[in-house]
Symmetry: C2
Subunit: 268 residues, 2 copies
């Protein structure tokens, strides 16, 4: 279940997120001309556009179950003038796609929302040709640390982790990509960690990542966390203030993303 | 104050540490032929050897205040057959070195032990020629996270952080390199974060880093932490067990180091 909501502000946050980290996360994700690539859970198409731009010769099929998000993705792909993307309204558990019909599968910021991410990895393996690859990106909220250190800011972050857990997801899934790919039966899993380090020498990242992407995301759970009795509003707000404090000129913010790539073996 | 002790086992731990992370940390640290480089707090010479090897044309002056460590550094430099290293027994606050006599200063895993790291950065700035650079490496124990997650393992890590704090140091100093270099009056500070990601695909790193370097380091504070009443022995031991658990075949361990480089301006 997606816990951030689907409103206009959330859409802007996703855009800031894609803009700030996309170069860094996707720059080494390229699929060869002629290959068929499936994007699982494309949402509003934030990653789809860069995926299609970075692999202009590949044929991208992207799907999502949320109609409103998919409508936004269709607009965005059209606005980018991309002709190598097909968008589908579909559910992971009932995909109208043939077995062994894709060369590569791309899954970005999706597994964290699923109650059984390993089952999802197994499902999409069916769609891959033998020798095809799955590429997975996830963050990990347990990787966030910052200067000045603040316990109360960590408590605000923990609210998001707890709400995502109650919704069946896992906001600290990044560190688990390796064992998940192994358990899903993929071969040769290779996971790399990508730390986003932000200080005042990169003011664009301070604004787009520390403020708008990360702190903005934590802010979206304020009402849910207070309503669920996980935290009181004053404590939550103090935690958010301390996260914004890390975006001041002497502040530092760190967060780690993970990229996992693995192969569908010929016998799996 | 150095809280890990100076025994034989500690010396082996430092060697494992240097071997496991040194390639990764130092590979882009090279000083040009003919330059004079000062290494501050060389300890047993673990970093000195790779520093001198990576910059064979540079003239390295390395010092430490601990005689036993320095004796080991002298042995190690001799065993490596290095001829571009001069070792000094000296204290940072009374260095027998001329102002503006070095092109570069190198400080690795030292600032974390000092009660006033900014004062140390100011002190060594005096020794740099205008336009010379300082290069600082530090870890950050707040950056450690692992799979399976364990609160009790984080409590064992917190013992080391607390003991280092009581000794006047800061085990979470890595995130502060940028503001410290600014406050010490250096120009153009540039900090990069380097995450060590360890899973079963790199068994050498599992052994040398997760087990011997990190968990081994936390283990060294067991008696001190129990004696100081920070934790009981059973809880500490359970935390250590959980850190070793992250070195099992489905485990993952992450830790972030920081490298900071900054310039002594012509007016500072």
């Amino acid at each position: 279940m997606y816990i951030h909501g689907y409103g206009e502000r959330e859409s802007e946050r996703l855009l800031a997120q894609a803009a700030s980290v996309v170069r860094f996360l996707h720059e080494d994700t390229r699929f060869p001309p002629g290959s068929r690539v499936l994007e699982v859970g494309c949402g509003t198409g934030a990653q789809t556009v860069s995926l299609a731009r970075n692999s202009p010769g590949a044929e991208i099929v992207a799907f999502d179950h949320a109609l409103a998000s998919l409508a936004r993705a269709i607009e965005r792909v059209a606005a980018a003038g991309l002709s190598n993307v097909e968008l589908l309204h579909a559910d992971l558990n009932a995909l109208p796609l043939d077995a062994e019909s894709f060369d590569h599968v791309f899954i970005c910021f999706v597994l964290e929302h699923l109650s059984n991410p390993i089952a999802a990895l197994v499902l999409v393996k069916r769609l891959l040709k033998p020798g095809g690859t799955v590429t997975v990106f996830e963050g990990d909220h347990g990787s966030a640390f910052f200067h000045p250190h603040s316990e109360i800011a960590h408590r605000a972050i923990a609210c998001q982790v707890e709400l995502q857990r109650r919704a069946g997801g896992n906001a600290c899934i990044g560190r688990e990509l390796y064992p998940m790919l192994v358990r899903a039966g993929y071969d040769a899993p290779c996971v790399t960690a990508r730390v986003v380090y932000v200080d005042a020498t990169t003011p664009d990242l301070v604004d787009s990542f520390t403020r708008k992407t990360f702190t903005g995301m934590i802010e979206t759970v304020r009402e849910g966390a207070v309503a669920a009795g996980i935290i009181d509003a004053a404590t939550f707000d103090a935690g958010i203030r301390d996260l914004y404090r890390a975006a001041e000129p002497d502040g530092v913010f760190c967060y780690t993303f993970f990229k996992g790539v693995a192969v569908k073996g010929t016998s799996s």
